[in-house]
Each structure stands twice: as C-alpha cells, then as structure tokens.
Symmetry: none
Subunit: 415 residues, 2 copies
Amino acid sequence: MGSQKALLVICDGMGDRVEREFEGETPLGFAKTPTFDRLASSGSVGLMDPIGPGVRPGSDYATTALLGYDPRVYYKGRGGLEAAGAGMDLRPGDVAFRCNFSTVADDLTVIDRRAGRIEHGTTQIADTVGKIRPRGVKELKIDFKATVAHRGVLILRGRGLSMMVSDVDPHRDGVKILKCEPLDDSTAAKRTARAVNDFVLQSLKMLKNHPVNIQRIREGKRPANIILPRGAGTLPLFKTLPDLYGVRVACIAAVALVKGACRLAGAELIPVEGASGGLDTNYEGKARAALKALEDHDLVILHVKATDVASHDGDFRKKASVIERIDAAIGMVTPSLDATSTYVIVTADHSTPVSVRDHSGNPVPLLINGPGIASSNVSKFSENAASRGNLGRLHGLDLMPIIADYLDKAKKLGF
Amino acid sequence: MGSQKALLVICDGMGDRVEREFEGETPLGFAKTPTFDRLASSGSVGLMDPIGPGVRPGSDYATTALLGYDPRVYYKGRGGLEAAGAGMDLRPGDVAFRCNFSTVADDLTVIDRRAGRIEHGTTQIADTVGKIRPRGVKELKIDFKATVAHRGVLILRGRGLSMMVSDVDPHRDGVKILKCEPLDDSTAAKRTARAVNDFVLQSLKMLKNHPVNIQRIREGKRPANIILPRGAGTLPLFKTLPDLYGVRVACIAAVALVKGACRLAGAELIPVEGASGGLDTNYEGKARAALKALEDHDLVILHVKATDVASHDGDFRKKASVIERIDAAIGMVTPSLDATSTYVIVTADHSTPVSVRDHSGNPVPLLINGPGIASSNVSKFSENAASRGNLGRLHGLDLMPIIADYLDKAKKLGF
C-alpha cells in the first residue's frame, strides 16, 4: 500500500432527471458511454447529494463540498475563488469581486454587460483601472486583473472591509447599473460599498477616452467603458489537502471558480491548450494532461464544464453527445492507467436538468473503480443504475474522505 | 411488548475489501457462515459507516459510536477508557494513561517495550510505583494498576490537569524514551507533563533493584525497570444506556478499551475464562456467557477481537477461519434463543482490510434478525450482499437507537 493514485473526473452539471421521450432515461443514461459503463460495472456505483437531497448548489459551492470542505462553513462568496483562480494574491481581510468589462450609456443604462464580448485590450484597461484609489476610504489599496474575455477580478485591501455588500452588475442589459449597498449594519460593509461605488464611477471617467476604447469605437465595436463588480467574497481558509492528507493534488479545469477552489485546496493548476470551458473544449488534451499529471500527483481532478453548458441550453441530445465526448476522452487514457494501483472516480458537481435549464437539487451519479472495490455489475452508468447501486446514497462531503481512504492517506481517529 | 432482548455481536475489524483471487469476495463473503447466512436471509442486511464514509476509526472511537455516543463529542482519549476497562475509579478531572511495563538501558534507550512479555510480578511492581508522589506538582495523587501481562494504567488526580500531553512510550524498541510534552499552551498541560516525566524517572529509580526484577535478571529475563505512559485521556461523560433507555446491559469483551467504553455506558462486565483477545480466545465460552447474560439483561454486547488480529496479520484465510469460528459459536447458542422475542445483530466496529493491514474507512456489514424484521432473502452474509441489502446504508450512531426501538425502549420525541 502507499503508491495508489486517483483520477477524479467531475462533469459539471452532468446529473439530470429522466425524460419520458428518451426511454425514461437521463442524458447520461441515454448516451453511449462504453468507458464509463465498463468502469461502473467492474466498480461500485451510487448516488451522491452534493450538499443534501433537494439542495441546489452552484458549481463553486458544490466543488467546495466535493473537495471535502463543508461549504456552510468554508464558502466565502464567489469573489475569493475567482481571485484565487486568476492566480492573484488574495489575503485574509481582502474583499474580492468578479467583474465584467461592460458598455453603459451616459445615463448608466447597461448596453452590453460583456462589452461586445471583448477579446483584446483588457490588460491595458486593467492597468488603467488598477491605478484607481477609491476616495473616502483611508489606506485602501486595490488590485485588478483581466482574466478571460470580458472577465476580470477586483481586490480591495485595507482595514475593516466586509464581503457583505451587493452587486453593481444588474445581471441583465437594458437596465441601469445598481448601487453597491451594505448588506448589514456594519461600518465595514458601509465603507466597502462606498469604495466599490467610487471605484465604478472612477472607472467610467477613466475609460471614456481610453485608447483601447477609442480604437474599438473606430472599429464599430462597443467600448468597455465601465467595470461592473459582483459576487463579493473573501479568502476561504482551507487547510489544504496536502496538509490534511499528505497528497499531491493537480487540477485541470477551465472555470475560474473551480480553479480557485482547487488552488486554495492546495492543488497545482495545470493549464491545457484549448481548454475553454465551452462545448468546443479540448477534451482529449485535458484527458492526456490528466494522465501525465498522475505521474507526479496522487490525486488529479479533471473538471469539464461543457456538460453544464449544454444543460443550461436545455438540449438533451447535445448534453448526451458532450457526455459521449468525455467518455471517449477518458477511454483514450484508461488503458494507460495501472489498474492495480489507480482509482478512477466519475461524478458530477451537481445536477443541471435540461428540463430546468438551471442547477437542481437532484443527486448525481457516482462511480468508483479500482483495486479492492466491489463490482456493481451494472450494464450502464446512469442515474437509474446508480440509484440501485452498491454504494448506496452518499453526501458530497463523503467523497474526499473515501478517496483519501483508498489512497491510504486517511488518518485514524482514536486507537 | 416489553420483554424483548438483543444480542449484539461485534466482530472487531471484520469489514474488508473484495479480493479478486477470492472470487471477488471479502473474508466474510468467502467464509462458510451458515448461522450468519440464516440470520441475514431471514433478517435485514445493510452497510454501516462506523463514523462516516471513508473515515478510519480506532476500535475505541468506533465502539463509542456504536454505543450511541458521538465520538466527536464524547471521545476523550484512550487513557480514560483503559482506566474504566481496568475497573479503576476514574473521576472528572483525572487524567489517565495506558502504560507499559518496559525494559530500558541506562541511557533510556528502550530495549523491550513489553519487558520480555512479563506475565508475573506486575502487581508487586504496581504497588511500588503506586507510591510515587511526582515532585513539583502540589497535592497530586496517583493511582496505578497492573492489568494484563505488560499492561498497566496510571491515573493522575489533582487540580488543573490536562489530557493535552504527549506520549513517553516511543511506540518502538531501539530508540530513547520520549519526554512528555504539553500539546497546548495551558498551565494544566505543562503541569501534567511535568508530573508524568517525574513519575517515569522515579519509576526507573524505584524499579532498578526491585525484588521482582532481581529475580527476573537471575532467571535471564528482562527486568520491568520503567513505566512508559501513553494515550492520555479523561473520563468521557456518558449518560448511561440504562439511564437513557432503561435497559440492563452486559458486555463480554477481552479488550480493555471496549470493556471501558461499555462499562462507562453502564454495562455490566462479564468475565469469561479464556477470553484472551487473541486468535485462541474462548469463542464458545463467550457465546455461552452471552446466552446466560441474556437471562437477566436486555442487551448483551459480545465483542470478539480475533477478527481484527487476523486482519492486522494480513491473512485472508485466517480471517475467514476466525469468522467461521465466531459463526459456529453463535450457531451453538441461537437455538436456545426465543425467536419470538430475541433480536440478534451481527456487525463490525470498523473495517480492517487484510490488504491494508490496518483500519480503513470502508463501511461494515450489518445484519439485524428478529421479530418484525423484514427478510432480505440474501443467500450469504457479506459486504457484497449488504451493499444491496434492505437496510440501505446507515451510520454507526444509528445502531443503538435502532436496537432501543426494537427493544421497545426508545422514547418518543414530541407527541
């Protein structure tokens, strides 16, 4: 014992509800998944409630649970995970925000929350707004980073800040931007809201005639003339998986939130060319990167967002075909895994039924394959098969202790 | 209702993982267990996570849970359970230690942690070290008792003591004894560590020329020339099962920790000639004692350590054969039980896979047989059968409420 490895495949939002017109199956049950089926049959299957039965989690909230941290204790908002996922230096006391580069009219009505899906020039804009010193708050520092396309992250650093403030981004076009409001009576929340509002108005002033925007207007594109923060959050104080279990962990993911949660949990983030977080992601490249990462890591977390994207589109067949692409990519690398020492776990962070087009509280299917694991003998990996599986019904928080146990890294309680 | 009885058979570490070379079965699944199979088939079966999925418990920790006490709240270290198991008078505020009679060289290097597996004379040695008054700590009293072979228990009694101190026993031969260190910044921990260290050094001085040791050296045996404490613990404040449920409980066990936990839970400890805690234990004698104890107790807990011993040896066939011996011993007494009023529960406190040779986080199989219990119709009692059983997947803390319910001793919550 001692040299075991584990590959944890998380298919974002893969869990679903059955559809009568698809043989009473879910997209996973309907999809042709020879690799998952083989792993499920010679391994154990069951259902897992990411948080609890009927509870609807976001991907960040659910990933926190799957990593072994009770999100009711450790989840500290979106901003902190975004900042960590962007590789920024987030410290205790900082408050971070996910931001959009957006286009507003003079009366602050949002014309386009994504500034014409801006692709270039955001780094120069970030440099400019990074120089803003919000007024009315003493000794406040800021950090700003452009991440992917219209996305960025703002960090406020100073004494007496609070994540209990509302969003400036109104989450839809055609309405005015919102005023950041304190969500409790604390001085810290009031101070933070004041700083955010001043930052937003200063960004508007500094970006109106920014060279990148002058060029964009000249090209008939929408200018990124304002920064709209939302999702205030702080640093979640995880004790890392390496500290807890003595495991080396790698994460292969495109989504900033997931990357952030995994980075804070002590995972090395492994970039993959073409990993987009979209339907067109580099499935095979991610699987190959996972295989390589297993060489010098005990646990490799492979997260694929595409299943959730197809789910939000409400497209059953598209979701099934994304699942087939993931299955094929995993099937490409499983022959290279040492079956006597490698565990493969396939699951979802939450369900996103195509009929709901949003996250639901349904449990997700789970398979665990590896040495010493009892065979379920199911013929198909699906929610239906998992509901009668030999793992029973687990909680998301159970997953990491189970993996640590099979990696022989779990600590004994008592004698 | 009201005259129901229950026999709870706990096979220490019986739970296991499947092995390919043994037909994909565990030792329990592989063993010939006609009694367990009959009880399982006409009773209900399921899996039980002693603490939680993937969580690795020690026997003391797991037994605490199976008795119905959440060990995350009630488990207070090994020493307290050892003292209770030895029948000592442990009081709130006392700190107790499991101790070894050991042999050290002049430079305090451990030659033999078990002093040549000393069998005789430990009571005289215990009388001697029981007179030690550790210096530097005011009004400190001690109590010391020799238990079985090289084993003893030390109790420190006085104001301001703490269990947050480290072991003196280095847990292996050939290295120097350790200094007892405070594990937190409290004055109580520092004072306790000081007392322990002084006790150890005084024991060395008093035992050097102890008559028992002079005789042992003359006979070419290793002297028990020092006492090595470890596993500091305090009294866990259980509300007893008789108080909680109005049940009379008996415990038949050889292991001090289990005896201690059961005694603190209000069980009468019933000694059995030849119950050794080893592979050679008196299986039939324990089963007969359990049958007799059912005459005047509502719940009889029969604990067998041998399964865990075979597991730590990593011997699949030996473990299977120990399980067969337990099955035969139980089969010897079941015909004498009144099937219309007696429940038989068979389970393990935790899994100790032979492939791991240590406790694991795998769930344990559970069978409950008795009046009103649905038939599982499984053909074999095993982890595989239990994973598809009609009890689903339970937690260790669920067991005692279920037993109390069938004994008709559970209290109703609300109206």
